[in-house]
């Protein structure tokens, strides 16, 4: 797989760049989250770049760009300030320019969904649409969700979110406040790094999967962990979390939005959201005004859909961008908004 490293604003940015055999393919930048790397997307790269060979329609083809977030994977070590996802979005815009793409889609999951949403703000006239996965109901470090008045289905997700907030945020508190204290453990102990990551593949994947390796391919999971170990990405991605949360706190103090969510409220490219079984994302909370036209819910999969249910994810990405491909440089597709 073609891989490259380029330096943007002083930071090494590693990325996979896989061109489709279809000449009219749409460019698409895919952004992973924590605790992950471009390895997360390996199972969707084939179906996305070459649908003809994967039972799909060649008109749905993408040229894919899969960068490693600064501090993750091979975009290491991280220079100070790169935990700021807005800065990352600016770098992605620059990266796509350097690659010669002046019109492209953005897909992101977990922290990558925040980057994708911000990329749409940074490069409004070039991003044709933003597809998000791995989102959560609302800001993890904010108040709990009020469940009264919700539908039964929403309530179940909201209660799961509130449980996650009460019992599942130790990692985030630690990474957001004292990442260096954790860094010694993750740098020195491979089993420590493994456990720190694998817990999330237990808690955040399809609830029907008893063990992490029932939800995702064990070798793919271990590849992700190994890259983190070899590159010291455990410590640096924890540092990135710290900086990201510092930025969020500053934004929250100004009553601004959180991450990429709620971007549909702004004028800009259309947003699509795919919600999987383990996710806590609730439509009435994330999109109260109904501005998100493409909203898919699946009863399998979880926080790592590209690893858990790659076919569903590839299908949803194809479907979302299908109507956006033709709209020449316009920022929003009338059909999608309608």
């Amino acid at each position: 797989m073609p891989q490259f490293v380029t330096v943007i604003d002083g930071q090494d940015i590693h990325f996979l760049h896989v061109r489709s055999p279809e000449p009219d393919a749409l460019a698409l930048i895919l952004t992973h989250g924590w605790p992950s790397s471009p390895v997360e997307f390996l199972k969707v790269i084939g179906p996305l770049t070459d649908p003809r060979a994967h039972g799909g329609d060649p008109a749905d083809a993408f040229h894919v760009v899969v960068p490693s977030l600064p501090g993750y994977g091979f975009s290491t070590p991280m220079q100070p300030g790169w935990g700021n996802l807005f800065r990352v979005a600016q770098a992605w815009s620059e990266l796509m320019s350097r690659l010669g793409y002046d019109r492209y889609g953005a897909q992101g999951t977990d922290a990558g969904s925040g980057v994708a949403g911000m990329l749409a703000m940074v490069a409004t006239d070039r991003v044709v649409g933003v597809h998000l996965t791995g989102t959560v109901a609302t800001m993890p470090l904010g108040p709990a969700l009020e469940v009264d008045g919700m539908s039964e289905a929403d309530r179940a997700r909201a209660e799961r979110f509130n449980e996650y907030q009460a019992d599942g945020l130790g990692y985030l508190h630690l990474q957001a406040t004292r990442p260096q204290t954790l860094a010694y453990s993750l740098a020195d102990s491979p089993v420590g790094q493994l456990a720190w990551i694998v817990e999330k593949f237990h808690e955040w994947t399809d609830p029907a999967a008893a063990r992490p390796e029932d939800a995702v391919d064990r070798d793919q999971l271990l590849t992700n962990v190994s890259i983190s170990w070899f590159r010291g990405a455990g410590p640096s991605s924890a540092h990135a979390t710290y900086e990201g949360l510092q930025v969020w706190r500053a934004m929250a103090a100004q009553e601004s939005g959180w991450g990429g969510e709620g971007e549909a409220e702004h004028a800009g490219p259309p947003t699509g959201v795919a919600v999987f079984a383990a996710d806590t994302t609730i439509r009435s909370v994330m999109d109260p005004s109904g501005a998100i036209a493409h909203w898919s819910e699946f009863d399998t999969g979880g926080h790592f859909p590209a690893m858990e249910v790659p076919d569903l994810l590839a299908g949803d990405i194809r479907a979302f961008f299908r109507s956006l491909r033709q709209s020449a440089n316009s920022a929003a597709s009338p059909r999608e908004i309608a």
Binding site: D167, L169, G170, Y184, A187, V191, G192
Partner: protein
């Protein structure tokens, strides 16, 4: 052999365990660090490297082992859990028994500097009438008490084990002191064994605003300073607590595999407030007894325990040290109806028994004089 046996115990760590520790310390994979951020991100690389260098080149575990072995030590099984204790009798026949409970990430090492003055005031410039027989157990899941082997070892169950321990030792009337986790367990011991415990002495009262705005009416400006300290601690320095209260096992793999991981995890709390040897004594004890996971679990167990909100009524003394979280009287009074002694000191901190052993000793003597 019955389960109430109390067996003599001596520490003898195999040399192979020390060799393994040295070997791991000699091939640490260090993380990097951002420049110029100080302690804001956690334990600094400078601090960690300096401690590891001391640990590897000049620290001697056998010194601590010998020092501990100079005291009578025992183990006994209570409620299915091995309990290790120091039991240091005073030469004074009328001494009051006193059980001292340590905290996290500490151990019985916390109290080594006060054993002499408390058991034998006569030879330490004090009044022999102030003497104590000391019982210093290792908390279940800590040090030589070894890992807990079943869920449920919260403050209440530990307090019940302490009551049983004192009973086995033949003490029908005794005092109780605790620091940190010990300050959480000790009032419960007083509540549970109210006919035996003559007084409860703690260095923190973990009583916080309940959410009722009326509680704030009586707060002084100084109290607001204490609340601000608390808020800063909660927002910036308490992640260890949140992790250990919710998912203690996740980090345990690293702490059992990496001595520098364990060192950093503990040093986050110790910072540079105590001597290196004090940090290394405690950390090495955790490492050698393989109790990182089980000591972290006490947070989980306590967070998941059914709280007993009624105020305590045992006579209670509180010593507040300058650099510690300074307990707030108005909230303490809400939860403890019989506080008869409250003293504040302008030095010392969270590790008072080591940082200000003279002050702590004097406060313990003064408080228990009221209730002997």
């Amino acid at each position: 052999m019955t389960t109430v046996d109390i067996k003599p115990f001596q520490i003898a760590i195999p040399q192979a365990d020390l060799d393994d520790l040295f070997d791991r310390l000699s091939r640490i994979r260090w993380p990097d660090e951002l420049p110029g951020v100080g302690w804001d991100y956690g334990v600094t690389l400078d601090a960690a490297r300096a401690l590891v260098e001391t640990w590897r080149t000049s620290y001697d575990w056998r010194t601590l082992e010998s020092r501990l072995n100079e005291y009578p030590q025992f183990t006994t099984t209570i409620d299915g859990q091995n309990i290790h204790l120091l039991h240091v009798r005073s030469p004074e026949p009328d001494a009051l028994p006193l059980i001292l409970t340590h905290g996290w990430p500490m151990s019985i090492v916390e109290f080594l500097d006060v054993i002499g003055p408390l058991t034998d005031p006569r030879t330490h410039g004090g009044d022999p009438a102030d003497a104590f027989h000391l019982v210093i157990p290792s908390l279940p899941g800590f040090g030589f008490s070894g890992p807990t082997t079943e869920p449920g070892w919260n403050r209440y169950r530990i307090a019940a084990a302490w009551a049983e321990l004192m009973s086995r030792l033949g003490y029908g009337r005794y005092g109780a002191h605790g620091n940190d986790t010990g300050s959480i367990v000790t009032p419960e011991l007083g509540r549970l064994a109210h006919t035996q415990v003559v007084g409860v002495h703690v260095t923190q009262v973990f009583s916080f605003p309940s959410g009722d705005p009326a509680e704030f009416d009586g707060l002084t400006e100084d109290d607001y300073g204490r609340l601000a300290f608390l808020q800063d601690f909660d927002q910036n320095r308490s992640a260890f607590n949140k992790l250990q209260s919710t998912q203690p096992q996740t980090l345990a793999f690293a702490l059992h595999d990496s001595p520098v991981g364990q060192l950093a995890w503990s040093t986050q709390l110790f910072r540079d407030e105590v001597p290196a040897d004090y940090i290394l004594d405690n950390v090495t004890l955790y490492w050698l007894t393989r109790t990182a996971a089980s000591s972290a679990r006490v947070y989980w167990e306590d967070a998941h325990a059914e709280p007993r909100p009624d105020p305590t009524t045992t006579p209670t003394g509180v010593a507040v040290f300058a650099d510690d979280f300074r307990s707030i009287r108005i909230f303490a009074n809400r939860d403890h109806k019989n506080i008869i002694s409250w003293n504040e000191y302008d030095r010392g901190g969270h590790f008072a028994a080591t940082q200000a052993p003279d002050l702590l000793t004097a406060d313990l003597r003064g408080f228990f004089r009221l209730v002997r």
